[in-house]
């Protein structure tokens, strides 16, 4: 099952002096079953956007529509559990690789045995199932984090710079798993990345954030080949220093 989003006049601001507006998006659609790459320099509001999409924090203003329904300020756990995020720095829980991958299923009171075995095979970590998660390499940790997310069969998978610190082998492996997840199971994917090449390889839709504002969004090919906004053009050509 897949689900999409609509963001309407969404703003996220944090208290302080002065009040800091980190995200200000008039309209953004994430179509169900697509892979949206959100690109932009550091501090553009990309991670904030993912936290909103995972319902980990409510927006300061505006409306988020998920799967056709307006998301309330305190969304029920059943709604939050339809979405999950893989972060740039995967935090491993104390225990084995198996324990980490089974964690979300246990939270939901679901059986773990078959689902965890299958997903560990998929990410190439079956042999390390009983190893301590804390002793894995960076690539293995990130694949564990991906397995921990995929085992939940989410409607939406959010990736926050999930391959930023990895070697090309692990980047390729994770990209192929994400692509397969999208194509065979219809999972909507929102991918935050600095890497325009990765965005172009993987995504069907793209969006460019700059200074918290959505500059441009649309299907991936025209986004990269003939961007409408000169700032988007500068970014995709690698001319924007960030």
């Amino acid at each position: 099952m897949s689900a999409g989003y609509e963001l309407r006049v969404v703003q996220q601001a944090y208290d302080g002096s002065p009040r800091r507006v980190v995200l200000d998006v008039d309209a953004l659609t994430v179509p169900a079953g697509e892979i949206l790459a959100v690109v932009g320099p550091s501090g553009a509001g990309k991670s904030t956007l993912l936290r909103l999409l995972n319902f980990l924090e409510p927006p300061s203003a505006g409306t988020v529509v998920f799967d056709g329904a307006v998301v309330p300020p305190n969304p029920p756990l059943s709604l939050v559990r339809r979405v999950t995020t893989v972060f740039q720095q995967p935090v491993m829980l104390t225990g084995s690789v198996w324990d980490n991958v089974a964690y979300g299923l246990r939270l939901r009171g679901l059986p773990t045995e078959t689902a965890v075995s299958q997903v560990l095979e998929r990410v190439g970590l079956a042999a390390l199932a009983r190893h301590s998660a804390a002793k894995l390499s960076g690539g293995e940790m990130q694949r564990t984090a991906l397995a921990r997310a995929l085992v939940l069969a989410p409607d939406v998978l959010l990736l926050d710079e999930a391959t930023a610190n990895l070697d090309p082998y692990n980047v390729g492996l994770i990209e192929s798993i994400v692509r397969d997840q999208n194509q065979t199971r219809g999972t909507t994917v929102v991918l935050v990345t600095h890497n325009v090449f990765q965005a172009r390889r993987l995504a069907t839709q793209a969006a460019f954030l700059l200074g918290g504002r959505l500059i441009e969004a649309g299907p991936v090919e025209p986004f990269f080949t003939s961007p409408r906004d000169p700032r988007t053009a500068a970014f995709v050509r690698g001319e924007m220093v960030y």
Partner: protein, 214 residues
């Protein structure tokens, strides 16, 4: 000569054990909640907790004495010069220690962990449990410190319990009494028993800590 020792050891264990259990049951969730939930005025609450960690037991004893005395607001309970009154005093001594050190341990867990477990679908209680599990060595240290603060204190149990033989006499108050009477041999034996008790209790807690580290 050591005839009175077993009941004194038993009462010491009973009073401090129950006080520690109550302080742990209340203090660990409160400490975790304090670390995990920012709210206006949290700094002032932390200031009170940290000040409480250094509360002189004799002052606690005096306050509890006044509350439990016949003319005090809780005089109707009839707990003055009884083990329940001593337990109340020791809970007040141990609680800030357990809350403060648990809060520090939970606060030192990587903030990314909370976000991660929430993103995996953990509800508020499951988040707290996950963080406590990651901070378990620090939480264990909080419980060990709480035990240390009550097993060795004399001022509060002396005032609230009254050091009544066979009723409220514990190791620390017995040591004071026997020293005053010049029974140094018995006082030293009581002191050795107190040390052995503290050693045994800490050995159990540290053993739990080693298992938690695995």
């Amino acid at each position: 000569m050591l005839g009175p020792l077993p009941p004194i050891v038993w009462l010491t264990l009973y009073v401090s054990g129950v006080a520690l259990a109550l302080a742990t049951l209340a203090g660990v969730p409160l400490g975790a909640a304090l670390a995990l939930n920012p709210f206006p005025g949290r700094r002032y609450v932390e200031l009170v907790i940290y000040t409480g960690m250094g509360l002189p037991p004799v002052v606690v004893g005096l306050a509890v004495y006044l509350f439990l005395s016949r003319s005090g607001p809780l005089g109707g309970l009839g707990w003055l010069f009884t083990p329940p009154g001593m337990i109340v005093a020791q809970v007040i001594i141990a609680l800030p220690v357990v809350i403060g050190l648990t809060s520090a341990a939970v606060g030192s867990v990587a903030p990314g962990l909370r976000l991660q477990v929430r993103a995996l679908g953990a509800g508020p209680r499951q988040v707290m449990w996950a963080v406590l599990k990651e901070a378990r060595l620090g939480v264990l240290a909080a419980i060990v410190a709480g035990f240390g603060s009550v097993i060795s204190e004399v001022g509060a149990v002396m005032l609230v319990g009254g050091n009544i033989e066979g009723k409220t006499r514990v190791l620390t108050t017995a040591i004071v009494l026997e020293t005053r009477k010049g029974n140094f041999e018995l006082a030293l034996a009581l002191g050795a028993a107190l040390l052995a008790l503290a050693l045994a209790a800490n050995a159990v807690l540290l053993r739990l800590g080693q298992r938690a580290r695995l």
